[in-house]
Symmetry: C2
Subunit: 411 residues, 2 copies
């Protein structure tokens, strides 16, 4: 019997009923004879009192630029609260359980507050408790820097904690529990016949996550992949084993074959994007000035197209006004296209397959959806569309490639 990491997100921990399901999931692994390390996120959705966003807003009422050191100390409370609450629930069921905060769990990070990287894990205390047959509940998302300061890992950080603990402890599997059934061919709230994928490769899930599927943090996948430890994305609220994430081949005797020949994994969407066009009037130095200005302001830019006449890129909606202002202060002529969304078809080796791009364009234009910008990489083809046509675009692409019926899509 081995070690299983079980990571539970905030939406699985909000109510006593949900925590009851979490306890059952933990006890199910215990009854198989496995040692269990549980990683928790902060409780609840953004509007609940112990959610990370609510804690941040506590500070923003007084100060729009809170210090990153103190912000991390505050945010770390979210996972401490949910971890204690879950540990308490386990104890009420007679389980021998102990809660460890980031410091106690030995999660050592660099000192980049708000977006720290795990640099090492001192697993001694966890191993001591596992040897004494405890369920060890660990606060996700947080660690401790060399200077003894509390740090947090940034969005999705609890997934990273789970993956890093899986590697450090040589776990058999890292289970990422969430409120969806697993990885689907598209968001089931948009596409009714979206299909659950039994298994995907590390690369496929990374692509999906990067393109907007919010099931797991890509850095967590990379960490697990490097040590070839399988992940499962599964639902806290069902008995299904969800989607296995691993390399091609078998998993742990359970013989799930990950298909090597699948071309399209699924369709993703990403709303709340603003497109920015800067007229460069043939001045060769301007694109560099544009991107330097954005970098200086710590604004992430994406979907970059540079021609001799124009620089086009996208930014997240919430920083769009600031980006525009900065560029106008440089004396540039700027046009913004607010309320855009990105839709993408993601697949292991999609580019260069004859006819795929044609099908994408056909699906969208036949449905009256304007393509504002598009591009591709080795593993995806994406299109920028207006936000109010996003759902329609996802459905059109899912239908066109027949993903609801056919593994790997139809060509």
């Amino acid at each position: 019997m081995g070690i299983v990491i079980q990571k539970f997100g905030g939406t699985s921990l909000s109510t006593p009923q949900q925590r009851e399901r979490v306890c059952q999931a933990i006890q199910r692994e215990r009854h198989k004879g496995n040692s269990v390390v549980v990683v928790v996120s902060a409780m609840g959705r953004a509007d609940e009192p112990y959610a990370t966003d609510t804690l941040i807003n506590l500070l923003k009422r007084d100060n729009l630029n809170p210090s990153r050191r103190e912000l991390d100390m505050l945010m770390s409370c979210g996972e401490v609260i949910s971890g204690v609450v879950l540990t308490n629930k386990l104890q009420s069921h007679g389980e021998q359980a102990v809660f460890l905060n980031g410091l106690q769990a030995g999660i050592k990070t660099n000192s980049n507050h708000g977006d720290a990287r795990i640099v090492a894990i001192d697993t001694r205390l966890i191993k001591k408790y596992l040897a004494e047959d405890y369920v060890v509940v660990v606060a996700g998302f947080q660690g401790i820097s060399e200077e003894g300061e509390i740090t947090t890992l940034g969005r999705g950080g609890s997934d990273v904690t789970a993956a890093a603990l899986g590697v450090a402890l040589g776990a058999d599997v890292i289970d990422i529990y969430t409120d969806v059934e697993g990885i689907m061919t598209a968001d089931p709230r948009i596409v009714k016949n979206a299909r659950l994928l039994d298994a995907v490769t590390y690369n496929e899930i990374c692509q999906l996550a990067r393109e907007g599927a919010k099931v797991i943090h890509p850095r967590a996948v990379e960490i697990a992949m490097e040590s070839n430890i399988p992940l499962r994305v599964r639902s806290t609220f069902s008995d299904s084993t969800g989607t296995l994430v691993g390399n091609y081949g078998e998993f742990n005797g359970e013989s799930v074959q990950i298909r090597r020949d699948r071309l399209i994994t699924g369709i993703t969407q990403m709303p709340d994007i603003t497109q920015i066009r800067v007229d460069i009037k043939g001045e060769a130095g301007l694109p560099l000035r544009v991107f330097k200005a954005m970098a200086l302001a710590e604004i992430s830019v994406d979907f970059i197209t540079v021609t001799r006449e124009v620089v086009i890129f996208t930014v997240l909606k919430e920083v769009a006004d600031r980006a525009r202002e900065i560029l106008e202060n440089l004396g540039l002529s700027v046009v913004t296209e607010p309320d855009c969304a990105k839709v993408a078809i993601v697949g292991a080796a999609i580019t260069g397959i004859p006819g795929v791009m044609a099908k994408v364009v056909e699906a969208l234009t036949l449905n009256g959806i304007e393509i504002l910008q598009s591009g591709d990489s080795y593993t995806n083809i994406w299109c920028l569309v207006k936000r109010d046509q996003m759902e329609q675009a996802v459905k059109a692409l899912h239908d066109k490639f027949d993903l609801g019926n056919q593994e790997g899509g139809e060509f």
Copy 2:
């Protein structure tokens, strides 16, 4: 210039407006040239999300007997949240401020979770920040055990943190900020002409606190007293310096004389008490069995009267039913008197002053208030009355001794 400790309670930290007043109080000390160490309690009253009681109730929904180790980890979040929120507010005013949790502040305790004692304070990090001219905000109520576990100090623990830091840092004064003006001759919500006391001795305030005046934790006073560091109990929301607590004599050049000849300090009340009478029918061994049974059940008993016929004592309302059940299970005949309250007159050396007890009895009986039980010690005289006559009893005693007009009361 020296070091000033400023402790702010939860009711001073709940809203941005209140925190604004707190910042002003801190900046006032800074402008005098003092180094400031701020100690905070958890934010808000019992029904707010980050208050200690709310955090405890999170666990009790799942488990009526949460583990004391995990409970401490949870409760410690309350002071971290309020400390970060206040530090952030200070930073928004351009103050150089830093927040330290119990571990970082070097608050070392024994490992008695939920009611730990401070055993030492490693002040190095605090001193380093003070030397760099920071306002140092410290989480009250929490520490770290030798085993590296997070502990809490029990009710009123932030006062204890403030006092212990005052001693460890050799502070000039320990300011306990609260939502009342200072120490009054009686609760001003009950007695309209209750008077603010300029100065009281350590012993007087300890007595008042033990008898129900909720201004400061008695243990905090004892700690300050041992090192003869003055305390001030004062309001966050006024500029008054409140009540100075110290030994007889002068304070720090500000020449406040603490009166040596005051006989009565004030009147206190304590509601929510149940009186229990056990018939012992002349069986000599019964009183011991009664008190052993209460001790075993960890029920605090008070106001004990033992005669050959009866054992009388009081317990807090919330444990009265359990106490009664335990005694009845021993086959004893039990009569309870619920809804009682204790009122007391507190003074440095009250007992033995001729006529005081007579005046107490006269004041109550003339107002139709039944004395259910009474007693005295070297520093107080107390009476048990029905809860619905408590306010009337406090007023009658305050009037009888003319405390609203006359320092030390009239005899």
